[in-house]
Subunit: 296 residues, 2 copies
DNA sequence: TGCTGACATGCCGTACTGATATGGCTAGAG
DNA sequence: CTCTAGCCATATCAGTACGGCATGTCAGCA
């Protein structure tokens, strides 16, 4: 039982004769006669009753016709499905993003464009910090991540630079910091700092602390928050000031003022997209391709 | 996309390497390499990632594997289904039987044996008189019938003799006919007869009337019944006596006495099985085959 | 650095498939 | 009743596809 034999057989059934079928499938009549006979021998059952004028179906032939139509339909379905999969038009992609960067216009545009262009792809966005993203990328439960890295070289991963973040100062609108001009970091020696947990986001904090070490500046921390939103909320409440990635300023926060400081701007915080080198998912690579359009 | 390629591909996936698969399917490794490549070219998608140690699946490959397994399963299902159909182990058979003959032990045995031996065949028995059976056989809505025929030669039909019925006299148990010895038909000249409608069962009544014409006997009909059961019920009620096929006596009827008369026994009523000559249903032919066992 | 195991490539013989020519059969027209 | 057209079957030949063998290439491992 071969696909060719089945499609020949279908043509014979639908045209009512082998000769008519031969015209339809553009194959000589003896070839069809033989293929039908081979099919019958293979199945061990007569499929057609031969008459002087065309053929008629046996019981088995009727049953095979229905099945054959389904089988061939199924084959073309698989074809189109695989083709769509190969072009990344269907399938699944999971992407990790830090909540902070969901507010960055380019990141938002990337997600939106991908959803629009590849509407049939199951596109899942997971709000995760850099550390958990890395873990999940390595274990394969995440296809791609938008995250901070300590280096562009990550074993088993491929990376692409999205943009350069830096550091900014977030101060309560009502505080003296918001109005008084500020130039050097050491002017903040006696300021109260709201800080995050290194354990939650080691990649980010290691980088920040290394920068501060170089500047010989040590913030006086009076309060800790689990994530950027919490920290900024504390700043808005007047509990202190905070160091935040510049991406945070993309999200206006009532009661919070974002300030530039040369010494903070100098701290380069590259934002990367990363994915498993062995991940060949076309849907993923379409996402990566979109990055080139959005992040020029 | 051919079945062979799919089964090769499945072997490759399940063994994890082309070489291992070649040992499993007993085909040289280069042949597998080529068939997989042809499959990939045909589908326009890479299915395997080749490594120094075996191969791994791409996204498309994983999808194809699942589909291919289903497709091949489907093929073997079709095989077994067609084989069963060809042997008449599954399928449908419809059989017409006159209600009267359902009581005949051999007919009952035929139905019972067929149901037992071919339990998976949808076997439908339609209680029909000879006339309607003939119609339905000709129009194809009935596969076979157990019926009276005016001739063994029926255009488009094949026939097989089952048994010879004849005529009997049915009289009320309480009547004088039941006790007084009876020899000749003419003794019934003044008897009240319960009769059937020729229009309902022309085959039967034409035969009966032809016989009576030869005997120059004309029954005095006082009552009509639509079928044998009704007629026999009328006899039991004392409304008159009736001529019935001998098969009726297989069904004991309270209040009715069946009598033999040489002149009635002489009326040969052959019972036939008939089916369309063009009907090739193996299930039907199994039924016909059983007839040889039951009606020796 | 050599070895082993795995995939790729080239070549050849065989089997399969299709085209052409031809014959037999049957239904329908004259 | 005969004749013919149309259809299926068979035989033969050519082209193609498939599998086997020998060999090449590459990556991982000791």
């Amino acid at each position: 039982m071969e696909f060719r034999q089945l499609s020949y057989f279908i043509a014979v059934v639908e045209t009512g004769s082998i000769s008519a079928a031969s015209r339809r499938v553009h194959v000589a009549q003896p070839a069809l006669t033989r293929q039908v006979r081979l099919l019958e021998e293979d199945l061990g059952t007569r499929l057609l009753e031969r008459h002087a004028r065309g053929v008629s179906l046996t019981v088995a032939g009727k049953a095979l016709y229905d099945e054959a139509v389904q089988l061939l339909d199924r084959r073309t379905q698989i074809r189109t499905r695989l083709s769509a999969l190969g072009q990344g038009l269907i399938g699944k992609v999971s992407l990790g993003v830090t909540v902070t960067h969901l507010w960055v216009p380019e990141v938002a545009a990337l997600l939106r464009h991908y959803r629009d262009r590849y509407a049939k792809v199951a596109f899942e966005v997971f709000p995760l910090l850099s550390g958990p993203q890395l873990e999940r990328l390595r274990e394969g439960s995440l296809d791609a991540g938008i995250l901070y890295l300590d280096s562009a070289e990550q074993p088993g991963l491929q990376t692409r630079l999205l943009q350069h973040d830096h550091l900014m100062l977030a101060v309560p609108e009502a505080s003296r910091w918001a109005t008084r001009p500020l130039n050097r970091l050491r002017e903040l020696n006696d300021a109260d700092f709201v800080w995050g947990f290194r354990s939650v986001s080691p990649v980010y904090y290691d980088r920040v602390m290394a920068h501060f070490d170089r500047l010989k500046f040590e913030p006086r921390v009076v309060q800790y928050g689990a994530d950027n939103i919490t920290i900024l909320s504390m700043v808005a409440a007047g509990l202190g000031i905070a160091i935040v990635p510049s991406a945070s300023s993309a999200h206006p926060m009532p009661g919070v003022c974002f300030l530039h400081l040369d010494e903070l701007t100098a701290c380069d915080m590259p934002l990367w997209m990363a994915w498993r080198s062995t991940n060949d998912s076309p849907a993923l690579h379409n996402l990566i391709g979109l990055v080139d359009e959005v992040f020029r």
